[in-house]
């Protein structure tokens, strides 16, 4: 655990060095290819501005479109359902087929997993891969957007997006924190009570708002996604319930209220049940702002 966090910290710092040196080059930096960035998979060098990007990561797809690199994207994986304009294909990020990816003749592949040596296999074909795994905090998420800006030649747009996200989120946090004071939240990943603690990325949203997360007490293993017992949820009586399993599993306020014993929970009594689209809650891209907005309106209703 410790060693991996040191590694991550090292990677982030190395990336910052690259970033700072890139920024020092001035306004011409966006056309300053070749660009070298450092991700969890090591250094990646992009020799010229990519024109045929394949994204195997739904989060990266959202970010690429948000920074205006959409026209450079030729294919996205089967899970990339946002934005609608993205060229969704049958490519899989979980069980990727190197030949199928190579058939799109990409000059850059962005992925969030590296199953069965995907990165090295594409590397042998001379295709650079940016590996952006799940971010564990906002800094990591912004860093990925910044790096996507650098490798696509959309650095300025990426910087604007990040500044805009930070400003909007900062404003929501400032107005909502006082309302959230002393309130607790239960985030539901699936109807068998898998939840998200503060160690997870979504958990950072609740922490930023100052909500107490009932999953924290159950996350002794530190996975970020403990499975809670029903008894514990009912007895903790959270003030807010956030459902991130509305799409996958059809959960809604009425199904939650119908669960045995749940009618006693404060959030169920006051109707403080927030529905958040599964994909927004499981990604770490630009729609983070929508998540904050949903939370802020729920807190305003309380």
């Amino acid at each position: 655990m410790l060693r991996s966090s040191i590694l991550v910290a090292g990677a982030v710092m190395a990336a910052l060095v690259v970033l700072v040196s890139g920024a020092a080059a001035g306004p011409a930096a966006s056309s300053a290819f070749p660009v070298t960035i450092t991700t969890a998979a090591g250094k990646v060098t992009i020799s010229k501005k990519p024109a045929r990007i394949v994204s195997l990561s739904p989060t990266a797809t959202e970010s690429l479109y948000a920074i205006g690199a959409g026209p450079q994207v030729v294919a996205v994986d089967d899970q990339s359902d946002y934005p609608k304009a993205a060229p969704k294909t049958a490519l899989s990020g979980f069980t990727p087929n190197v030949e199928a990816i190579a058939a799109y003749r990409p000059d850059l592949v962005v992925a969030s997993y590296d199953p069965k040596g995907l990165v090295s296999a594409l590397g042998r074909l001379g295709i650079p891969v940016v590996l952006h795994g799940a971010a564990s905090n906002f800094r990591g998420a912004y860093q990925q957007i910044r790096q996507l800006g650098m490798v696509t030649g959309r650095e300025a747009a990426a910087a604007r997006l990040i500044a805009d996200m930070k400003a909007r989120i900062g404003k929501i946090v400032r107005t909502s924190r006082s309302r959230a004071e002393g309130l607790s939240v239960y985030h539901e990943v699936s109807p068998d009570f898998y939840s998200a603690s503060t160690r997870s990325f979504v958990g950072k949203v609740y922490a930023a708002l100052g909500l107490e997360n009932i999953a924290d007490a159950a996350d002794s293993a530190g996975t970020g996604f403990p499975q809670l017992s029903a008894e514990y949820i009912v007895s903790s009586g959270p003030d807010l319930i956030v459902l991130a399993d509305t799409v996958c599993c059809g959960q809604k306020p009425s199904t939650v209220a119908a669960r045995p014993g749940w009618d006693r929970i404060s959030a169920v009594r006051t109707g403080s049940i927030v529905r958040i689209h599964d994909s927004i809650a499981s990604r770490w891209g630009p729609r983070l702002v929508s998540f904050f907005r949903a939370m802020s309106s729920a807190l305003a209703r309380l």
Partner: protein
């Protein structure tokens, strides 16, 4: 051949099935009752023994006593914990009974309730439901039905393949057919799962097995199947002893081997499929419990089958207590607990019984 048959009918014969020795019957019932008391008293939320006792007394309308639990604690006790204990008992009893029945019918001590492909078939059914039924609630609600149907289809296929190969006379053929059908269904299941990687987590948690905190609804769902299967098997328990000697011996004693075997297998399978449909795959119970009883009490099927129901029920209730309290307020999948605590216990029983022999 006739010598073996003679042994069965001879009163002095070593393999003559015996009834339940009173001491084992008492021990088994005491174990189950103890397990239920622990199951109700222990949970991630401490309700206090006196609180539980007072709540129970109030529900039993014992005059002068009213529950000292808060409304929330009442809900936790009666709507979450109690049904979970009952469901664990039903499923544990069913899986052990089905395991013991299969072991007798197929004359193979290594057989478990999933032998004829119930698990693989139910797994495919559940995965198909998760992956292809419309997103949302209907998919969730259809899952147990899909798992049940999948399990039943797999066993039917196994039986058809086994029968056509050996005209139903050879149990080894049936077991091999089960292995074949199970691998085929597992392959299909893995393929569907791999094609729908987004559903991986849901399928995975289903396969790991657990007793859901779904209140009384799942108890009501499982109860009829488990009750009918248990009654059918227990009524036929003496015949299992005869079957375990071999088909020819059983036939010479006037048993309609094929029909009885089919009845037993169908009953055990239907009960297992119902348990699997609601709780996923809970391994090890169907093997470990009957064997532990056999080694400790050294009984024939006539006594083994009812003892399996009682001890299996208690075993799974205790295993579920560990699943919901060991890392409280987090949970551990039950299938992990049954194997983790079951395997060393079984090794111990194996060692002591061999040492004594």
């Amino acid at each position: 051949m006739s010598a073996t048959a003679a042994k069965v009918v001879s009163p002095a014969g070593a393999v003559r099935p015996r009834g339940i020795a009173p001491v084992w019957a008492v021990a088994a019932v005491a174990f189950l009752l103890g397990a239920i008391v622990i199951g109700v008293a222990v949970g991630p939320i401490d309700l206090g023994f006196r609180g539980i006792a007072s709540s129970l007394a109030e529900r039993l309308r014992i005059p002068g006593i009213s529950s000292s639990l808060s409304a929330t604690e009442e809900s936790i006790l009666w709507e979450i914990r109690m049904p979970r204990v009952v469901l664990a008992a039903l499923v544990g009893g069913m899986l052990s009974l089905a395991g013991a029945t299969y072991q007798g019918v197929f004359r193979n001590p290594l057989v478990d309730p999933y032998l004829l492909g119930v698990a693989a078939g139910a797994g495919l059914g559940a995965t198909l439901a998760i992956a292809y039924l419309p997103d949302g609630l209907r998919g969730q609600q259809a899952l147990p039905a899909a798992a049940f149907v999948g399990g039943a289809v797999a066993v039917f296929l196994t039986y058809s393949v086994g029968r056509s190969a050996s005209r139903g006379r050879d149990t080894t053929t049936l077991v091999l057919a089960g292995v074949t059908v199970a691998s085929f269904f597992t392959a299909l299941q893995t393929f569907v799962q791999q094609q729908n990687a987004d559903t991986l987590q849901q399928v995975y948690t289903w396969i790991l097995g657990s007793i859901p905190s779904s209140g009384w609804s799942d108890v009501v769902l499982v109860l009829p199947y488990v009750a009918i299967a248990t009654v059918v098997i227990l009524v036929l328990r003496r015949v299992v002893d005869v079957l375990s000697l071999g088909d020819d011996e059983a036939a010479s004693l006037g048993v309609d081997v094929r029909r009885v075997r089919l009845t037993l297998v169908v009953a055990a399978t239907v009960g297992t499929a119902a348990a699997v449909a609601v709780c996923g795959l809970i391994g090890f119970v169907g093997i470990i419990v009957p064997h532990a009883i056999r080694m400790l009490a050294g009984v024939g099927y006539r006594a083994l089958l009812p003892l399996s129901v009682i001890v299996g029920a208690g075993f799974l209730v205790l295993a579920d207590v560990i699943a919901r309290t060991a890392l409280a307020p987090a949970e551990i999948p039950l299938g992990i607990v049954t194997a983790f605590f079951g395997a060393p216990f079984f090794a111990l029983v194996l060692r002591t019984s061999r040492g004594a022999a």
